[in-house]
């Protein structure tokens, strides 16, 4: 696999959100608007890239039996570092995203990539994989957020298209499942044809 494929696989072919179904907790929880999805996706990407790099560097030092706890400690520390740095130096971004950052720790996507990719591949490949997967995740979250915001709030990226409340069920939890289900069905239908 060349590095370009390695990078682009996260968008459609192995999309974390729509195909691998990884990291469903933030996917369903924060995508009430496109901006929330975008922010969460980018924060996750930052952690994912860093964790992939670190883990692929030290992969041969870690005994197999304790790799999961070691990975989790590394990921959790990274998330905390990102959170503290953001609060200190980017307070306005932190104000809108701060709530979601602790959620990254429990994101299976990061542990999943550490386990499935970074612990078996070189540093450069792992970096590309992390960036591609992270941006693919961002893309998925943003699309889901856009659909939910459009239907639930009649708005696109915070700009109201029609005054008044939308079909509120889409900004609530059941709407997350509905929208995700129909987007996945749509993507599967296209993949089947292609």
């Amino acid at each position: 696999m060349n590095q370009l494929q390695n990078f682009t696989k996260g968008f459609i072919k192995e999309s974390p959100t729509f195909v691998l179904m990884l990291g469903m907790c933030p996917t369903l929880g924060v995508t009430t608007s496109a901006v929330n999805g975008l922010g969460m996706g980018l924060a996750t990407t930052a952690v994912l890239v860093l964790s992939n790099i670190i883990i692929s560097c030290i992969k041969s030092l870690i005994p197999d039996k304790v790799r999961i706890p070691a990975f989790i400690v590394i990921i959790a520390s990274l998330v905390t570092v990102v959170q503290m740095c953001m609060e200190a130096y980017l307070p306005s971004l932190y104000a809108s995203l701060g709530l979601f950052i602790p959620l990254i720790v429990v994101n299976c996507l990061i542990l999943g990539r550490a386990e499935a990719f970074a612990s078996k591949n070189g540093v450069w490949s792992s970096f590309v994989d992390g960036a591609g997967m992270g941006l693919g995740f961002t893309f998925g979250l943003t699309v889901l957020g856009m659909v939910r915001e459009l239907l639930g709030n009649y708005a696109v990226f915070g700009h109201k298209l029609v005054q008044g409340d939308g079909i509120l069920v889409f900004v609530l939890a059941p709407g997350a499942f509905l929208a995700l289900g129909f987007i996945v069905a749509f993507i599967n239908a296209i993949r089947k044809k292609a």
């Binding site: 939308g166 079909i167 069920v169 609530l172």
Partner: protein
């Protein structure tokens, strides 16, 4: 049709067909429809027609263009879904919300599962609950029914349902005895003089429809009886424990959508258990959940949530209380 094939052989043959059952249900719904016309006037006709037409249209579109299967709309199930959905909304609902409800009922709750016979949840209730969550304002302003045969404008006054009045009153710290004086009397609720959705205001019309379906053996007694009895007993115990906070059980039965749900929606063949005991447990669960949600929940009415929650456990109930198999000895 393959959808009656739910049990092992041998099968008893009868001249029942899906179509015949469905149209019997439609006939059973007519008395309720008649009362809603008397109470809410032309609005009731308009909404019901829109809802039925939209349900038929969406089912036809999905079958023709997405599933590419033979058309099945003449089996009458979409007509029932449309009627029940319309009976579950206030009469002044804007037409486009009604259409969204029909789209949710058919396009989300029914067809993605494979159409009639495969849906896990009652489509009309899914449509209704989605609308309630999505358009809380429009779904909870209830025009008051006018006295029968009068020509007064219908939408002149809006008011709360009896259950809504109770919830608001209790939140204001009023005593239940004081509230009871403002609530409609038993006779008013029997005949349809209470605020509420199209089809839930007149208890007597629902009972007539239910008896008709029982007589034609379209439904069995298990679910309605266990549903209503459980709700009555549970509410009566609560009332006995603290009459200042809880209304009597008989009042719970007559107000809101409990009768409509127990007779027409919980008994839906597709989404209820197959065996007698399964049905009884299903009905008891519905009754219990309804009262719990009404008394302690955020929403004043709990029938639709209760039935949907119990729909979800139907596969388990079918396992725990399997239908009788002929020719097998234990």
């Amino acid at each position: 049709m393959d959808l009656l094939n739910v049990s092992g052989s041998p099968h008893v043959h009868s001249n029942e067909s899906v179509r015949k059952i469905m149209w019997t249900v439609v006939i059973a719904l007519l008395p309720t429809f008649a009362v809603s016309i008397l109470s809410f006037g032309f609005d009731a006709v308009r909404l019901t027609l829109i809802s039925v037409a939209a349900c038929l249209l969406f089912e036809w579109l999905i079958q023709k263009f997405l599933l590419k299967k033979p058309c099945s709309i003449s089996d009458g199930s979409a007509v029932i879904t449309g009627m029940l959905l319309a009976f579950n909304v206030p009469s002044n609902l804007p037409w486009w919300i009604m259409v969204i409800g029909a789209l949710v009922a058919i396009g989300i709750a029914k067809m993605p599962f494979g159409g009639l016979g495969n849906n896990l949840f009652n489509p009309a209730l899914v449509g209704r609950v989605s609308l309630l969550i999505s358009f809380p304002q429009q779904m909870t302003t209830w025009p008051m029914p006018r006295p029968w045969f009068s020509h007064a404008a219908v939408d002149a006054t809006t008011g709360a349902t009896p259950l809504g009045m109770i919830k608001t009153g209790l939140a204001q710290g009023k005593d239940m005895g004081e509230l009871m004086n403002q609530l409609p009397s038993y006779a008013q609720m029997l005949l349809g003089e209470q605020g509420g959705s199209l089809g839930e205001v007149a208890a007597i019309a629902i009972i007539i429809g239910g008896l008709f379906m029982l007589f034609r053996k379209v439904i069995s007694w298990h679910i309605p009886v266990s549903f209503i009895a459980t709700a009555f007993v549970f509410a009566t115990i609560l009332h006995a424990a603290n009459p200042a906070l809880y209304i009597p059980g008989s009042y719970h039965i007559l107000c809101g959508g409990l009768l409509l749900g127990a007779v027409f929606m919980a008994t839906d063949m597709v989404t209820s258990p197959m065996s007698g005991w399964g049905k009884i447990v299903f009905g008891c669960g519905c009754g219990l959940l309804t009262i719990i949600i009404r008394v302690w929940g955020a929403y004043p009415e709990g029938v639709s949530f209760a039935i949907l929650l119990m729909n979800a456990v139907v596969p388990l109930l079918n396992k725990a209380f399997p239908p009788k198999r002929f020719g097998v000895t234990k």
